[in-house]
């Protein structure tokens, strides 16, 4: 069980060498544990001084620059002091719609801090972070990368400010602030009555690995993380690939803004997730599994460790599972450190190996060459839940749900402009309009399905259905009513992609930043039709040229909203002709001041 150390920030400069050595020993001086080591070392000191990086580098036989390179990749690892209190406001569009920007402004004013900068006394810093997966109970914030606070309002923000000023430890703050509710609004098979622990494993063992694999294939189960690859096929490729051992990875890096279904599955149905992973282990012949838990869900870590221990005690993990000789499998949890790109499976594996989460060149695919070069199957949290059900109830039952091409059910994270945000599970084939009715959405202008990298649907498309063959989704369902400016939505998504670009390839690294620049120009009222043309050009390039899907999808919301909500853009245009990114007349003000002139001839033509 992970020991939670007491943080001492006042002597942040002093290096707790003995504590670092204990961490190094606990991780067997294994450089593949670097991300975990950095995260845990930061929990000791609040940040990562160079001396800490150097000490870890020596302990792992790495160079200091390599360690620095890894630490600098992750948004939640800091190489400068961030204060005894590190406050991060969730910056998804749904948080903004609930007033997060004004609340952050209030907190900064009360605490007298500049966003992104450490307060002079070194006590506190306040900044924004990408969606924390609490859109159904926002506005939300993350504090010290350990705690989440939901349902922020002015009163709560004022009390947070006084608690910080009084130096009260976060553990002593009102417990109800940290309460995360599940908000399950509609349950179908996955969120319904839980399976009895071990039943799916027993059924899988009864079938044997090959028949089990057949059953998963026959169910036509497809991945729930977005790409929709056929699960049985992935497992089969992994089983058939050459390797000394095989690895099962659960992708719980639920970073797509507006998605929080995995949060609820891990909270309420962790046993089902682990059961599905164990079934996968049997099918592919794996002995080792990992859950890659996003850093924002750090607060779930102790709970997940407890569930794993219960399962070991019940012989559902470990050696000879359910008494079957040779069926050995156990699961470790790796906690991410703030990097959306690690949801991409090869980047996730890089991160598991203790490196920068840069997506790999593919092929080879992880099923052939994944974690430490071994065949690895990476599946979404929800996919493992579904696989456990298929193992127990069989393929015919599963494929009786949904549509012929999209079998089973899908869980949606519903947020935004609706009366009942939360988790909704429906069979595939459900109309968008049905979900809108059920969640109490009124006067809806648009729905962003699948998050920023998904698709934006306008009212005339609400008859379309959730299915791989119509509207595929990774689970986000963000609702926007007619009071919303869809340009603001696209602007928020563009900022998200620029913030989360890993920086590896040119088109994504520079392209996402250029998109934000252009949209900022429109916000400043200096846009022209030319700027929209440039946005189109960038979109086309990024769809064609990026190294991974993140960059490719980064312009999806832009493309959709320009196509479907063009007036939202045009109201930001100053003219239909070219406008420079800066105010030429204002640039002349220094010259005017120096020459003491302010007559019309000292101004650009046409400006007063």
């Amino acid at each position: 069980m992970t020991h939670v150390p007491t943080v001492s920030y006042d002597d942040a400069g002093a290096l707790p060498v003995e504590r670092l050595d204990l961490l190094l020993a606990a991780h067997h001086h294994d450089r593949h544990q670097l991300v975990q080591l950095l995260r845990e070392a930061q929990e000791l000191q609040g940040w990562l001084p160079r001396a800490t990086l150097a000490h870890l580098a020596r302990g792992l036989g790495m160079t200091q620059a390599q360690v620095e390179g890894v630490a600098g990749f992750y948004r939640f690892l800091h190489m400068r002091p961030m204060g005894r209190y590190r406050v991060l406001f969730s910056d998804n569009i749904t948080d903004r719609m609930l007033g997060s920007e004004a609340l952050m402004g209030e907190l900064c004013e009360l605490l007298r801090v500049v966003p992104g900068r450490l307060r002079d006394d070194g006590r506190v810093s306040v900044d924004k972070t990408s969606c924390t997966g609490l859109c159904d109970q926002g506005p939300a914030l993350l504090i010290d990368h350990r705690h989440v606070i939901t349902r922020l309002d002015g009163e709560r923000v004022a009390r947070i400010a006084s608690l910080i000023d009084a130096g009260v430890p976060v553990d002593e703050w009102p417990a109800q602030w940290f309460r995360v509710v599940d908000n399950v609004r509609r349950a179908d098979v996955l969120l319904g009555a839980p399976l009895r622990k071990g039943d799916a494993i027993a059924a899988a063992v009864g079938r044997g690995p090959l028949m089990l694999l057949e059953e998963i294939k026959r169910s036509h189960l497809r991945g729930r993380g977005g790409a929709g690859y056929v699960t049985g096929r992935k497992w089969e490729l992994c089983r058939q690939a050459a390797g000394d051992t095989r690895i099962v990875v659960c992708n719980a890096d639920e970073g797509e803004p507006g998605t929080f279904k995995d949060r609820v599955l891990l909270t309420r149905h962790a046993d089902l997730v682990f059961e599905g992973m164990t079934v996968a282990a049997l099918a592919i012949g794996a002995r080792r599994g990992f859950v890659y838990l996003r850093g924002e869900y750090r607060y779930l870590l102790d709970h997940l460790h407890r569930v794993l221990q219960h399962r070991r005690d019940a012989h559902l993990l470990g050696l000879a599972i359910q008494g079957v000789d040779g069926f050995d499998f156990d699961i470790d949890i790796h906690v991410g450190a703030g990097a959306y790109v690690c949801g991409e499976e090869s980047a996730l594996i890089e991160s598991l190996e203790g490196r920068r989460g840069t997506p790999r060149i593919r092929p080879p695919f992880p099923v052939e060459c994944g974690y430490l070069g071994q065949p690895t199957t990476v599946n979404n949290v929800e996919t493992y839940c579904a696989a456990a059900h298929v193992a127990l109830h069989g393929a015919p039952w599963w494929s009786s749900l949904g549509t012929p091409k999209s079998t089973g059910t899908k869980i949606h994270s519903v947020s935004g402009d609706c009366e009942r945000p939360g988790i909704y599970e429906y069979p595939y084939g459900t109309r968008i309009g049905r979900i809108l009715e059920d969640c109490g959405a009124l006067d809806t202008q648009a729905v962003q399905v699948g998050g920023p990298s998904g698709i934006c649907l306008s009212a005339f498309e609400f008859g379309r259905r959730i299915a791989f063959e119509d509207v595929p989704t990774a689970g986000a369902f963000m609702v926007f009513d007619r009071t919303r400016d869809m340009f603001d939505v696209a602007h928020n998504f563009a900022q998200f992609f620029a913030h989360e670009s890993c920086g590896f390839c040119t088109p994504c690294r520079v392209g996402t930043a250029l998109v934000v620049k252009r949209m900022d120009k429109l916000v400043a009222g200096r846009g022209s039709r030319h700027d929209i043309d440039v946005l189109f050009e960038l979109d086309k390039l990024m769809h064609t040229a990026t190294h991974c899907g993140l960059g490719g999808a980064a312009c999806n919301p832009l493309r959709d909203t320009i196509a479907k909500f063009r007036p939202a853009y045009e109201q930001h245009l100053k003219s239909l002709y070219f406008e420079p990114g800066f105010d030429l007349d204002a640039e002349l003000s220094i010259a005017r001041r120096m020459t003491g002139r302010d007559d019309p001839a000292a101004h650009m033509e046409g400006t007063p």
Binding site: G69, C505, T512
Partner: protein, 240 residues
Amino acid sequence: MKPADVPVPSFTLDGEDVAFQPGDTLLQAARRAGRYIPHLCWHPEFRAHGSCRICIVTVDGRPGAACTVLAAPGLEVKCHTEELHAHRKTLLQMLFVEGNHFCPSCEKSGNCLLQATAYEIGMEGPHFEEFYPDRPVDASHPDILLDFNRCILCELCVRASRDVDGKSVFAIAGHGMGTHLVVNSDSGRLADTDITLADRAASVCPVGVILPKRRGFVVPIGRRRYDEHTAADGATQEAS
């Protein structure tokens, strides 16, 4: 069968056959055949990296980086099309506005692959607004100047120092637009590393980041590599 009878596998590049050896990427095969696929981060001495994306081609209609896609018999590869040239030009413009590139005052001018490729592709201006990042130079080393303003993050120096020199003097840090080259020493300065001018890492930079000191303009402008050749010429497709 005699070896001569074994058909050599090939793919087509813009309609012409290119033979390849097992394990070749499209770029490796094209380079060996003397064909030009524009590239910056790829170098024949090193494993593919795939970050600059200048070598973008279409393979049976689908886009891919020629340096990472494995050659296979019968593939139809297109490289020199109007659309792909437009993309390459935009990628080059992105690299130019991302850093601080002032060719007329750069010692690497004329020997620079970024500059030569921009000429080859016909890039006439930056098109986008410059970012003008603040990147201090590191002049600490007695023999080598580091000017990070021109870095295109190709990681050739990282790879050369690690894989050829066995020193790992360089690494990549940061993320997004903040991604940057770092130097492996306590101080973070080049003077405190064991790099020497003889290292492969000291000569591999395709742009003007890693420069030998006291050699400025020894070869005058007008008589440099890309004054006499182009980035498309068989012998000068790389700068170093």
